[in-house]
Amino acid sequence: MTKMASYEANEGRKNVAIGSYFRSDYIGWQVLKSIISASIAFIVAFGMYIFYDFEVFMTDIYKMDLLGFARYILEQYLWVVGLYAVISYIVYTMRYSRAVKSLRLYQMNLRRLAEMYRQ
């Protein structure tokens, strides 16, 4: 009973929040947040890349194939965000199934406790 109360107060609270979503809704929402995070991270990294050699970049900008450069950056962006989204999908799928399994166990224990009280 103490363990159940502790679960309810700590880990259980998070699991209840996860369990209140449908599987696809939860994973979809988390992957969407991951895509936004990865996009911001990519912009930060790209900014650092440009600033690293800003003077050279500014002198070369008139000579370079801007369309080709944009395509290259877009490809890199899609790779980074895609890979990060796949990793997030795996992590959150595992987290969801673990939370649901844990909640199921908690409910089973609750039922057992209720039966003990009835007896």
């Binding site: 911001i40 930060v44 800003f54």
Partner: protein
């Protein structure tokens, strides 16, 4: 040994009884120590390099989630560096931002390592963290440890080269930027330390999960040896001047700390191991049961001897 076990029992009982007060106190101490270390190492901004400010912020951290300590520490670091040079603040700030966005947002339970590891680096005992995380963490802890190492070396590089960065003219923004980024990305010592610590975490984790006797002790020894080996091989390959004595002494300290951790987390008696075998309708079970070492807390009985009072009562009765 029995005394130690009784002490452990008392500590655990006290912690569970006063957890509400002890946890914020520990958070306060952690925040205080990390902020004081940041101020002592890179205290460029005078307005936040004051004990009163640090105390107030640490007090605030004690009532917030643990990850808030990381955010505050990162903020303090960036503010100090901003006072020193905008370029270093931008580079280190971007590094922290990438860590928060890509890894720490998953908020695993061991993100606090990112703060603890730089503190341990300054105390010259960084080897404690990978060994401890291998014993109580998961393989993902290797990523947390790597983030902690990167955070330390970013700040360490700027602090070490402060005079060189300050000597560059204000107009040389691009050159400053390149100098800092190159210094951080091409830091071979950082790469070797990340490789050593990540390997230690994974090796210690894999061994302590094995179903063998004394798995934790073997994991501790193996983890410490692997740590020393990888650091020394890295030193030979890249010539990074890692002190042999420091590495060995640091790993001995880490091993001793791991022994304390084992005593509190995984104290079992292998001499009373039982192997049982049973079945139900669906499965056969081959179970190895290792009993935990535990002693019941001795109860103190207070015997009241009220002989004086009893005698007085008897005397009064006799006179009547």
């Amino acid at each position: 040994m029995t005394t130690l076990l009784v002490m452990k029992q008392i500590i655990m009982t006290l912690y569970s009884k006063y957890e509400v007060y002890i946890t914020p106190c520990l958070k306060f101490v952690l925040a205080l120590v990390s902020l004081l270390f940041i101020n002592s190492r890179i205290g460029y901004m005078e307005s936040i390099d004051k004990l009163t400010i640090v105390l107030i912020v640490a007090l605030m951290c004690s009532f917030m989630p643990l990850n808030f300590v990381i955010v505050v520490s990162a903020l303090f670091t960036v503010l100090h560096l901003y006072s020193f040079s905008l370029e270093s603040a931008a580079v280190v700030g971007a590094g922290f931002l990438l860590m928060f966005l890509l890894y720490l947002r998953f908020s695993p339970k061991d993100t606090i390592v990112v703060v603890l590891l730089p503190v341990c680096f300054l105390l010259r005992i960084p080897y404690v963290i990978p060994l401890a995380m291998g014993l109580i963490g998961t393989p993902a802890s290797a990523l947390s440890v790597a983030c902690g190492v990167i955070a330390y070396y970013m700040v360490h590089y700027v602090a070490q080269n402060a005079s060189a960065i300050a000597a560059m003219a204000d107009e040389e923004t691009g050159a400053k930027f390149r100098f800092i980024i190159d210094g951080i990305l091409r830091n071979r010592e950082m790469v070797v330390v990340i490789a050593a610590f990540a390997t230690t975490v994974i090796i210690a984790y894999l061994i302590r999960r094995l179903s063998i006797d004394y798995a934790w002790t073997i994991a501790m020894v193996a983890g410490a040896i692997v740590d020393i080996m990888v650091l020394l091989v890295g030193d030979l390959m890249f010539d990074i001047n890692i002190g042999l004595f420091g590495v060995i002494f640091g790993n001995i300290v880490a091993f001793l700390f791991a022994l304390v951790l084992q005593f509190f987390v995984f104290n079992v008696d292998y001499s009373r191991t039982e192997k049982v075998q049973f079945e139900d309708d669906e499965y056969y079970y081959y179970v190895k049961a290792v009993p935990k070492v535990a002693v019941s807390r001795p109860e103190k009985k207070v015997k009241q001897i009220n002989s004086q009072r009893a005698k007085t009562v008897q005397k009064t009765r006799n006179t009547h």
